[in-house]
Amino acid sequence: MEERLSKYTADGRHKADTPVPLITRVRLHIFLILAVRNLLRFLTAWAFVIGVVIITLRVVLTVTVPVMLWITASMAPGLIWVAVVSWRATPKHSAVRALLDKLNSCGGLLMTAAEVPLGPWRQKMPSVAGPAIKWHGSRTISVFALSVGFVLVSFLLPQRFVNITLARPLEIGPDIARLAEQVEAMQEANIISDEQARRLKEQLEQLSRETSGYDPAKTLEAIDHLEDVLTKEAVKAASDELNRMQNLAKAESLAQGLDEGGDELPEELLSQAMAELGSVMQSLAAGDEALKNALSPDTLKACKTGRFSPEQLREILSALKEFKGDISQATDKLCKAGLIDPNALQVCNQLADANAAGLIAFLKENADKMGMSEAISAYCSSPGSGGVSRGRGDAPMTWADESSKEGAVFKERVLPPAAMQALRDSIKMGFSPVAPSVEQGIEKPVAGGVLDEAPAGSGEAFKQKIMPRHRSVVQRYFEREKQDSK
């Protein structure tokens, strides 16, 4: 009875008729293969989708790493889906039994054993072995590896590479407009040729057309380069213009001074001043054909000889004023275009307004010492008339006799060796904005003279003897100056 129970199932079939463990193993094997296959396919699709999502989010928003890791959690429902689909795709018991029947050439006996007891036919059934199941998944694995690479790239791609994927326009319109305005101003001022201006404008248009946010540094570098080219040209031109304006101001002031107060100058200084005027006018006329044409041949000849009549001086003044207007117009344009420093231009304009009477007085006072050319340049190139009592506050001081040093310099005295040693041994404790305090009751040295009241070896400041009274010294200095001037 026990043997019967052990060999037969409840419905009377022999256990050997139903190789359930083998069928279950085969089913499990197929399920695992299908699960791996479906898992890889799902992960491939998921990886591509998530990769696109991550990159999109990184481009549109700034996604942090924890957020990206949370996004990967969306894989979990897919894994459940893979398990369910794989299990549903796993062949049923009857199908696996039929497969084993077919592969083992059982002639239907194995399939029959699932439905009716085989009885004596069990002995006719051949031994049943499991099939060899193989999955040709090289392609799936390759695509999966690609997708994993894609996801890794989407996660690990530096943000700067993600940013350049956006077509971000770079706003350089104002810069381009400013440069175009400068080019036009320089063209009108004849600083650059028409051909050069056309080429620069083309470059500006190309820059405006091709600029983008992909590489802003490149675009800005190009703008800087163009600006640098323009600035160099403009600075050179502006420098020339300023020099001319200075010469112009010098010649104008000198001509006006000679016309109005030439008689006040000694003969020698007058001839030197006229020679200087002739020299300046020659250099101006050489640089500008219009100015040259504005002067009469006699005047031009006088420029060479350095002897001008009052009419020639007035002719020179008239020509210079007209010439000055043209130059001012050009420099104003350059200044508006930002190519010339407005302060430098203002200084030049002030030079032009130099006081002719002041110039004559200045020359009369300083031309002998400084030389005619330097004196004219000093007067014209700096504001004010010089001296303590003339001109503006920022005018350089010109000195006549050297002032006395009396009351302004300390009287030198040789310290005794002990005091010197004490100074050498002294330690600096710090600086004080106030006068050092003098401790009372310090034992005085025995020796008299300059060392009287000096502390022995203490290194402290000596109030009465060593520290000067700066304020009073300066005050005395200026008081003496007044006395000198009196």
């Binding site: 497969l99 083992n104 002639g107 399939m111 199941i133 040709h136």
Partner: protein, 351 residues
Amino acid sequence: MESKEAVKGLVDVEELKTASGLARRMLSELDKIMLGRSDLHKMVLVGILGRGHILLEGVPGVGKTMLVKALGELMNLQFKRVQFTPDLMPGDILGTHILQETDGARRMVFQQGPVFTNILLADEINRASPKTQSALLEAMQERCVTLLGETRSLPDPFFVLASQNPIELEGTYPLPEAQLDRFLFKLRVDCADVEVMKEIISTRRRGEPPKPGCVVRADELAGLFGVMDKIFLPEPVSNYISRLVAATHPASPEATESVKNYVSYGASPRAAIAIAEAARGCAIFAVRPSVGFEDVRAVVSAVLNHRIILNYKAKFDQIDTITIINDLLGSLDETAMNLPQDVKIRETPNV
């Protein structure tokens, strides 16, 4: 065919061995009578075991009639031969009522036609008109004849073994699909090869075959049919047969590309029954109490080749039904595991 509830167990081993031995003996005798046609003979016997009608198709002179006559002699059954001609009438086959005078009284007496026999050889069946061919429909399916409201049963067993010439089309009437469907098998009788012909002409005077060495008695034949009924058809095999027949229809989800392209009408459920029955016959020859997939594959071609109706495109492309069936057998998985293409199961198991 018994239902599964009726099948309490498998056929007895000895009973099956006896039946299989008898079937093999018949096959051996047929092989002796007709040389070099063992496969054809086996299929004919399988058809007989399945109690089906068989249509033999072949050019004249290949031994169709001789095969049927030998079968009739071998089985010791009543055998009649009808040469179908265009002027053959239904009454010439089924029989007719004749006015007879007996004892001074006149009455209509039914005179049986040649159909009242066990084995009817319908020679060149496609030469008769459709009307005459249709006279066999009831006899083949119902195994009875109804005349003037009176139904008469045909002898049991009743087989129609018909022959037709596929190349001589003049004066012939192609068999209607309804009648074709009633044939279990349509077997092609090819010309014998050189060696067989050499043996025929050297061993047989005027080609006359030898008489069968043994005769199968009626009770033996009945026992054989009884064993046929006990051959078990497992569910996966019946499922395979159903899917196979369904796949012959272009609208079927499992239909192959060739079926979709070239088939107008697929096989009928009668074809599925025929496959199951014929597969049982194959199982007997293999001495197995149950039908396997190999039995089904062995008979599918003979069962389906005359039941699948091809379209004109198939004729243009010279595609025949055998090609379609082989395509079906190659693509349809017997076990219905429906595994993905990249998951392969090796044919030879790990031993």
